[in-house]
Symmetry: D2
Subunit: 297 residues, 4 copies
Amino acid sequence: MFVKRTDLALEARELWQESAERTTRLMGVKATKRKLEGYPVTRVDILDHRGEEALGKPQGSYFTIDLSAFWQRKTDFFERAVRAVGTELKALLPPEGSALVVGLGNAAMTPDAVGPLALDSVLITRHLISAMPRQFAGFRPVSAFRAGVLGTTGVESAEAVRGLVAEVKPDMVLAIDALASRRRGRVCATVQLSDTGIIPGSGVGNHREALNRETLGVPVFALGIPTVVDAATLAADLLEESGVERVDEERLRDHGTFMVTTRDIDQQVRDLSKVVGYGINWALQDLEIEEINALLS
Amino acid sequence: MFVKRTDLALEARELWQESAERTTRLMGVKATKRKLEGYPVTRVDILDHRGEEALGKPQGSYFTIDLSAFWQRKTDFFERAVRAVGTELKALLPPEGSALVVGLGNAAMTPDAVGPLALDSVLITRHLISAMPRQFAGFRPVSAFRAGVLGTTGVESAEAVRGLVAEVKPDMVLAIDALASRRRGRVCATVQLSDTGIIPGSGVGNHREALNRETLGVPVFALGIPTVVDAATLAADLLEESGVERVDEERLRDHGTFMVTTRDIDQQVRDLSKVVGYGINWALQDLEIEEINALLS
Amino acid sequence: MFVKRTDLALEARELWQESAERTTRLMGVKATKRKLEGYPVTRVDILDHRGEEALGKPQGSYFTIDLSAFWQRKTDFFERAVRAVGTELKALLPPEGSALVVGLGNAAMTPDAVGPLALDSVLITRHLISAMPRQFAGFRPVSAFRAGVLGTTGVESAEAVRGLVAEVKPDMVLAIDALASRRRGRVCATVQLSDTGIIPGSGVGNHREALNRETLGVPVFALGIPTVVDAATLAADLLEESGVERVDEERLRDHGTFMVTTRDIDQQVRDLSKVVGYGINWALQDLEIEEINALLS
Amino acid sequence: MFVKRTDLALEARELWQESAERTTRLMGVKATKRKLEGYPVTRVDILDHRGEEALGKPQGSYFTIDLSAFWQRKTDFFERAVRAVGTELKALLPPEGSALVVGLGNAAMTPDAVGPLALDSVLITRHLISAMPRQFAGFRPVSAFRAGVLGTTGVESAEAVRGLVAEVKPDMVLAIDALASRRRGRVCATVQLSDTGIIPGSGVGNHREALNRETLGVPVFALGIPTVVDAATLAADLLEESGVERVDEERLRDHGTFMVTTRDIDQQVRDLSKVVGYGINWALQDLEIEEINALLS
């Protein structure tokens, strides 16, 4: 059977529902919807092993914030998007403690550059607190790591982060990465937050060792932005919608090394990465957007 | 009817043949095949108005060099690809005279960056010949123009090039641009040369005023590399292959703002742009690849 | 005699005063000082041929805005710097008409990148007005040109701009460039405006054909930021201050291919270029800073 | 007393000799000269505590390769420079074992970008050997780390490298950094190799925790390229040469935040960084330059 690719728990649940008999109930998974700053938020909780097996993702909570409206570029959209991501993330994170923020992915390849780009908007405070503890008493210690790509480091991201965690001893890790969606409409239009850790490189192909509490020893929160659709998944969806019964798997896999993305990917990835970076500052440091602006300049 | 998008004359001919009744003959078009340095070269000549109408492209000769084998990275592939492109281009160009090489497209957006990237490998000699005529007696005068994007210049590429041509007075213009193919297999795997001029921006969407002998007053040769497939065209092809008779146009157009491209687009565009740049030096200056290397360093 | 290098009229006047006998009066030059938004502004008017000869610069008005205080990073410094530059520029420019903004210099070499960087913050409106005349009725038409470097274009900036002016027919040209100062304290801390045109490349060495009303046929306004000190000039100043009478010219010229610049040149050039870009929008389009932010995003 | 700044052992020795009475002998330091591939190589051995105190550098061997001739751009200069650096480095390194190559400095600031740029030319093999041990049997395992800048990571380079060394367990560390010279003539014209470790950030100012056998637990070899002259050091030298006896320290320190560098720093740093990267491959992997070219493409 052809396996459609998605990194969104929301879509894994959709796929299960599409494939399953109507009589079956999806056990071990709970989904709820609400609105935040005008943006729809879907929460999918994977509660136990039945849920894990059905959706192919680890137990935990996944929040998908639908920012499609962001691109209408109304006056205060950036602020509202930051508040939505920041509020949701703040509720997910421990209320105290230091954080190491890891940017996964390849800075030189736009659809994979979400991680390193978001880091450019994260306030780095660990060294300042250490040098001027009195002046920076109000901040939580934040450090950052740009994990790079295996081909240019020779080191798995999980290995490198583990080494850094042992030295820096953060209370939590936040990992930012590009994701793959199955729907063009979600590309560069949604943010997924979760408390389950992350497998680097999902968005652009090569799966690697996971970053999670088991491999790193501290809780790992993931922030992801879908930037691509796997071309084979898109094709399979399209054929099914058109009533084609037997999809030729071989033929679809031929699309596997291609990806579908938006024409204005560069600007969109840049803008949404900034939303994620600011959202992290909002959640960790309790700062207004103008204060973040001033501190980053 | 849904109109499939391609910038390759080769594919425009394929599309005509697929759509036309088998009994119809394509008039005013001639196609021939041969090999050059081991790479297949297809030549499509559009001979008259019947050919222009059938293929939707201006009269002239179009050469498509299939470099798929390039990516097997055998020892001398770069050299052979340069010789193939250079030899074909040399046969197309006037044997003497100065050239203005125009790089079309957006340097900040990889699938559109073929033009500006190729220029980085073109030997610029006009100012050297003018300053040291004796030492550079053996070179043809070459100047370059990075046309930029309408949104960041406010000026159409054709306007700007026309102004420059009036000052620089080159004997010919060579225009380099990214193209759209209908086949994933041709993305970052082929080079199209033609003596017909070019409409900027074809590869990534917005059609603009043409660069050709009519608009510029000198012959315009086009060098293009397909870097994307229009997502709607890909979808239409896929549905037809699967026997879906009625393709919903509305539904397909929804893909229109998306594009399909390879995962390693950055490296591939960089490498092929260098092949095109070196091919231009080969064709214009009669230099060996090692000599080009030395002059560019 | 060793000739100290500066592109600032302010400093050319200082140098004259230092070299001249106290009994001599500088004829044909008038200088005045005032404050704008808290920043000191010096105006030097070169009134006639005596002034031109004494200062080695063409007749016209030169305004130097001292933004040293900018780097103290108080809350509203960016806004105040933009208002200072914008107000001064607005008084200098014709109250109506279209503008072509030319960014001179090498984008790949930070101390020379002022021109291309400032253009990233200039609102480009010509194509929008042309496409949607009703919606953009309130804007003046602005287009932009990144002139590039002779070695990568083969074309003198003045030639290329002349060609573009013939096509685009702007009512004025604004040219932005990096300058050389004689004082470290002015590096990345001042902006010079003038109505006299400009000679490209002053800041980093190679003098070329001027951009001015004579060569382009329309008034040319120059905006410059000093980013380097010529190493030989710095050395000569230093020796004179220390009472060394006979400065060995040969020895100083050895410094000529070196330049003195700040350690954090990258950030400073980026920030001041943005001030210049915003100042241009302020002067041309009568917009508040928040409106510029919204339009540029 | 004004302390002149240099990161070159060669110059520290020169400074000692200039300052010391002629009757004093420099104890604990040995210097020898020879030629390699036509380039002069100076070896300074600091033998004991007397040498350490006199030169202000740790015990060990320092090799300075004078590549000034490199810029004459004769045909085979790149190859000869690589062979000179590679041969000298090979003699310094253990003949076997895995290496972690650390690029220190700020990729976004050219005079500080030597480390990250050189890494782009280093063959990364650790992951390949691990995935395909049979095919890559002939290679030594090499991994890489781009250390970044404290302000953007919050983590000292030494901390981060220590964490990585604990995970990757290399047999040696090679650290690449930009240096400060006291002589303009050595800027972008020399390479210093040593077996003593390195203090990050020397070249551009802020001294930090050392990378050496004590802090990392494995031998640390340093490769440095001088890219700047401290402006105060340059000024002090200049005044002394001119016979100024009392140099005003306050006045000179004012130059301290400025640096002197070449006009074509971007290209020179890029070229020399490539020499260093290739030299590392030559020393570690026993490859000819053409083989390195093929593997890096």
